[in-house]
Point group: C3
């Protein structure tokens, strides 16, 4: 009888152990959040409102240009407000800070490295992102490689979509963040 | 008797528990792959074939230069084809997209940030890399900090070696990726 | 009796299982180290000693400038000596290599991407860092997203503080690294 129950304990234990990789394969996020950030690109006239600018470019540096289109080689730096909903006029809960580099000569693709610096009653801390951004796709997955504060040591996947844009001056990005490693 | 078996179960459990860190110390990859990427640097004449270009440089920007050698301060952006073997003419399975910055004044060293965007029957997804690249060393280890798709949440180490080069126009890099966190 | 002990084993097992997330929440580092790195910025006259330089800037590239202050848009590249204590003259144990980009128009904030390349009897390997650096704050937390060699697959948090500075030519940064994932 005791042996039977011990066996039962053993099976329960093994079932739980094997549950760990199984659980991971289900891809259930331990934390989920949706945030928006607003990129107002400097066009020479909107310095007061602009939140990002091209800071290096082959043509600016008189370097021979590999491609005349798709902004190839432009490096843009941004410090964009983050909001909880999709309104540019909502109270910011933080700033998206970092850079992107246009890196293809035959389509619009960028490489992103940036950080969400969140500072509100809602969230305190930073989230670090990196990855390739094929801008014309409806959704793009990039990596969340780390975090600090409320997001201490977190990892996950961020799904980015262009929620709205106005010419080449305003872009609103929706970022759905699914964390799969929470601490 | 029941107590003895229970103790046995306990010991088996503790053995299994302590096996987790032990397993990690053996550094057994959960996934392994070797890929090649091909960097054709723009030299002003090969725009059709070029896959990378210097997009910012101190001399280009008329900034005072710290060093005249080793390309110090040059920022190169690339969108290179990835192949399964070492032939430039093999069918690409994806693109290596990102940048490197030459960062030393007395030798050839770069800082790498890039992503493999894989899109084939073989692999679907992205792999994110970051790290220091002491180019003249035979092999260089950098970090795989994340991934998406087939490489969802993966982490690992990439060992890079210069497989071939032709002057300053063509570089072929062999990348051996060992994933130690698979999902 | 056997059943009771089996139950005890079960409870012990469950207690241990639930201890894993609990342990993480205590944030006990598995490895801890403090290092200093020394950034000697090139000012046009100190080429022999300089370890970093501005390699791209909107004004350098004749790009219209978004902001005239806070170095907005400047990209600096560095290859700084790392020491175990806060003396610039101590024997270096490695190099801090990477870049920062000034990314705000109304205060001093940078985005950091760099690697510690350690090569001493003390440490062999690399540590990869990324994150936002609000320079004027006393301490800033960034992410350690990976490592190689002695820091194989490590992750953690780095707390950066400006230990000393001299004008705009010398900065000494204290980096307290707490690893929470060791292998």
């Amino acid at each position: 009888m005791g042996a039977n129950i011990s066996l039962l304990v053993l099976f329960m234990f093994l079932a739980l152990c094997s549950a760990f990789p199984g659980k991971r394969r289900q891809y259930t996020p331990c934390k989920h959040t949706v945030l928006y950030f607003h990129d107002v690109i400097y066009n020479g006239e909107n310095a007061a409102n602009a939140t990002s600018a091209i800071v290096a470019a082959p043509q600016g540096a008189n370097l021979t240009k590999l491609a005349n289109q798709f902004h190839f080689g432009n490096i843009a730096v941004f410090d964009d407000p983050i909001t909880l909903d999709n309104s540019f006029h909502s109270k910011p809960v933080g700033r998206a800070q970092g850079f992107y580099i246009y890196d293809t000569k035959n389509t619009l693709t960028a490489w992103l490295g940036f950080t969400f610096v969140l500072n509100s009653t809602y969230h305190q801390g930073t989230i670090i992102f990196a990855g390739a951004d094929p801008i014309l796709k409806k959704t793009r997955d990039i990596s969340v490689t780390g975090g600090t504060g409320d997001f201490f040591m977190h990892r996950g996947i961020a799904t980015i979509s262009t929620d709205a844009y106005e010419g080449e001056v305003y872009f609103r990005l929706r970022v759905e963040i699914n964390f799969y490693e929470c601490w």
